[in-house]
């Protein structure tokens, strides 16, 4: 069931290569799996689902009735990464995050990279995520991207690409942690048998990392709080999970107000100042006085407190320019510009449709490409050429011609597969990986592994949970 020898498959499967022998990182797991009773695993998989439900690890789907909290499907077969593979990945990720942070600092200060002509000025000037108010502002500790998620895909034994940088408020880390917890509960024997890197210290590291970025106004132990839009937000579970795990307060806009030059939360004893706010709301909603006046989610006046060094906002406002998909195509240059090194992890080749020549090429081979909105996320509003109907492609072509600057295109990658557990045995499904990266003045810390998202439908390349994707526990093996 595990192997299909002699039947070479076109995708790179992380367990069997191209359908050959079990690759080394998976050997111990496969030995265990083959000796296991399939019915037992099936039973455990059902228990896992019940466990996720009672724990409330659900997400809300926008537009759906709130009784309709959904589970993200969880698959019991882990995604396994060898120690040597991880070393290589983490070096590349660290380099990238360092460059992103340097880029943000530069853009909001001297803009050397624009003067050097390495990144076109319009890309910043016309970027909605660019915040002129951040010009000349030094965020506490010099950190912009306290938390980032770098999406990585694999296409072969030695081929990894960065697909996307998430520098605003990457989500999914709670699934990474709960997936591990679930595996530990279901199959403790595996963890006794195989040496797997821990992930459970993420919340503590997050707390330390945030506390290390406390603002000048902080006296004593920094007070950290998580700002959520509320229980109806699709990622509310994660917000409360992280606050709980850090021992930090989970606040909403209406719990906060500016008191004596500090942002303070309404406690049962009165207003208490907050030093570091890990916000899970967008820039636009942070401050109705300075940004969107109709926002009910933010804190009137927080911006002025921020500028005066009264609070740290994580991630810093305005980091969104760094995870723009049009900017993404310049990342190799950006990395080289700030680190003096070539990018360790390559980008996926990208056509910028704003460029007439690129656009022509894209329109020519639209059925083979993946086209994404520059500011889109969550797998919404994208075209996967090979999977789309003629009608879809024609419709997309119109959108593309009408507003080319809004799109980028990439070749359809042969994403690697990892088997999932199905009634009929193991079956390969496409995956990606989102490692989570913490940055503070004390350094960069990457949790081994990250969140593996898996397209549960056979052949599908879309792994987003909003589009029916699932998740897996991700193991990085100890040396």
């Amino acid at each position: 069931m595990l192997r299909r020898k002699g039947q070479r498959i076109s995708f790179f499967d992380e367990m069997t290569g191209h359908g050959g022998d079990t690759r080394p990182p998976y050997r111990d797991f496969c030995d265990w799996f083959e000796a296991e009773d399939v019915a037992r695993i099936q039973r455990k998989a059902q228990q896992a689902e019940a466990f996720f439900r009672t724990t409330g690890i659900t997400f809300n789907v926008y537009g759906a009735d709130d009784a309709d909290e959904r589970l993200i499907p969880f698959d019991v077969v882990p995604r396994i990464i060898a120690a040597s593979e991880w070393r290589r990945l983490s070096r590349g990720i660290e380099q990238r995050v360092r460059a992103l942070n340097a880029f943000l600092h530069d853009i909001y200060h001297r803009q050397e990279i624009l003067r050097a002509g390495r990144v076109p000025v319009e890309l910043i000037a016309r970027n909605e995520a660019f915040l002129p108010m951040m010009m000349g502002m030094d965020p506490p500790g010099g950190v912009y991207t306290h938390i980032s998620g770098i999406d990585i895909v694999r296409t072969g034994a030695n081929e990894f690409y960065v697909l996307e940088d998430n520098a605003r408020t990457p989500s999914g880390v709670s699934y990474m942690l709960e997936n591990r917890e679930t595996m530990l509960q279901m199959f403790p024997e595996l963890f006794a048998k195989i040496d797997i890197c821990e992930v459970s210290d993420y919340p503590l590291n997050l707390l330390k990392s945030l506390a290390a970025c406390a603002p000048p106004a902080c006296g004593g132990t920094p007070t950290v709080a998580v700002l959520t839009p509320g229980i109806h937000n699709s990622a509310y579970f994660e917000h409360s999970f992280l606050a709980d795990q850090m021992g930090a307060e989970l606040v909403e806009g209406h719990d906060l107000r500016v008191v004596a030059g500090r942002v303070a939360m309404r406690t049962t004893r009165g207003y208490t100042p907050i030093d570091v706010l890990y916000r899970r709301v967008d820039d636009d909603f942070l401050d109705p006085l300075n940004f969107r006046p109709d926002s009910m989610l933010g804190v009137p006046g927080i911006w002025d407190v921020y500028r005066a060094g009264g609070i740290t906002i994580a991630n810093a406002p305005g980091t969104g320019i760094a995870d723009d998909k049009a900017l993404y195509s310049y990342m190799p240059d950006i990395i080289e510009f700030y680190t003096g090194e070539k990018a360790l992890l390559p980008n996926v080749p990208t056509w910028r449709c704003s460029d007439p020549e690129h656009l022509r090429e894209v329109l020519d081979k639209l059925p083979e490409l993946v086209v994404k909105e520059v500011h889109g996320s969550g797998g919404y509003g994208m075209l996967v050429g090979p999977a789309a109907s003629k009608k879809d492609i024609a419709a997309f072509r119109k959108k593309l011609e009408a507003n080319p600057g809004n799109y980028i295109a990439q070749p359809t990658l042969s994403l690697s597969t990892v088997p999932i557990f199905t009634k009929a045995g193991l079956a390969p499904r496409h995956v990606d990986l989102r490692p989570f990266v913490l940055m503070s003045p004390q350094g960069i810390r990457i949790t081994p592994g990250g969140l593996t998202r898996v397209a549960m439908t056979k052949g599908s390349l879309v792994v987003n949970s909003s589009q029916g994707g699932g998740t897996k526990d991700t193991w990085v093996l100890e040396d």
Partner: protein, 314 residues
């Protein structure tokens, strides 16, 4: 802790207590309706009045107080904000808001209780399944209580939730007395009408105390004794005196841990002193109905004061 979180814990506990109390009211109403078909409609109406749902019910169903209508309305009507299903949903929403202050055990018990009720109350409950359903509701609530008692830190959050429980419970017991007070008026007994045992039992069942009463007072059923039992008997966990003692001690804890005495603490201790430290005869002499009305409004004022003192809302 955040004022909002304190408020969520308080309301989570109130709603959980309310669901259990309403299950008990339905149970008592169902029993008397079965045995007395002639007055069944009147009994159901008094159950609805006690639960504060009569007006809503009449708006939706007019004067048709049939068992199946009333039970369905009280159990699972989503348009009824006090139906058990709505109340448990409110409890869960509050638990989600206060999630960071709850242990995993408490949260899972609340969440499981909501999921179980959603499944059990998906369809109208058949009359012969009703006792089972009501048992499930009580069991779920016992599980939450057990997880809460067994795993929560004894900090402010704990005390806010306990305040919610006892405030709601005192309110419930007082409402039962308010609706049935006429049965307890000495004038009725004095006139020499035969004591209506079934009615007494309904009152006692509504607070799960019919056996306790027997143990305590034996076969002697009198209005005075029942009123004394439900109002002043400090060992009965649903008596007004018990609830007030508890609120007094929860607020006392908060007083000790906060710098100044909250106004609510003063109110609770004066409730205990002025209303619950006099003999039952004195209460009857001054007028039972008036006493209960005053108690209900003092209890509601206490709830408002707690909300203010601890900044539940801005």
């Amino acid at each position: 802790m955040l004022g909002k979180t304190a408020g969520s814990l308080f309301w989570m506990a109130r709603y959980l207590e309310r669901s259990e109390n309403n299950a008990r009211l339905i149970d008592a109403g169902f029993r008397i309706a079965l045995t007395r078909s002639s007055t069944a409609q009147a009994e159901w109406r008094s159950v609805l009045v006690t639960a504060g749902q009569d007006q809503l019910f009449r708006d939706a169903h007019g004067e048709d107080y049939s068992s199946s209508r009333v039970v369905d309305f009280m159990l699972r009507d989503p348009a009824n904000p006090s139906s058990i299903l709505s109340v448990v949903k409110h409890a869960r929403d509050n638990a989600r808001t206060a999630r960071t202050y709850l242990t995993r055990e408490v949260w899972e018990a609340v969440n499981t209780s909501w999921m179980t009720l959603c499944a059990d109350l998906k369809r109208q409950v058949r009359e012969d399944d009703l006792p089972d359903t009501l048992t499930t509701i009580r069991q779920q609530s016992a599980q939450v209580r057990g997880a809460f008692a067994g795993t929560m830190l004894r900090n402010d959050g704990y005390n806010f939730a306990r305040l919610g429980t006892f405030l709601e419970r005192a309110d419930n017991t007082a409402r039962i007395l308010d609706v049935k007070y006429y049965l307890l008026l000495p004038s009725v007994a004095h006139i020499g009408t035969s004591i209506d045992n079934v009615q007494w039992e309904t009152i006692l069942r509504s607070v799960s105390a019919h056996r306790a009463y027997r143990w305590l007072y034996g076969a002697e059923i009198s209005a005075l004794k029942i009123a004394e039992f439900l109002i002043l008997y400090r060992q009965l966990p649903r008596s007004l005196a018990f609830c007030c003692d508890k609120m007094n001690s929860n607020l006392g804890w908060l007083h000790r841990s906060y710098d100044e005495e909250p106004e609510a603490a003063r109110m609770a201790s004066s409730m205990c002193r002025d209303r619950l430290s006099r003999p039952i005869q004195a209460i009857f002499d001054a007028g039972l109905h008036e006493y209960i009305t005053e108690f209900l409004s003092a209890n509601a004022a206490l709830a408002r004061q707690i909300e203010r003192d601890f900044r539940f809302v801005e």
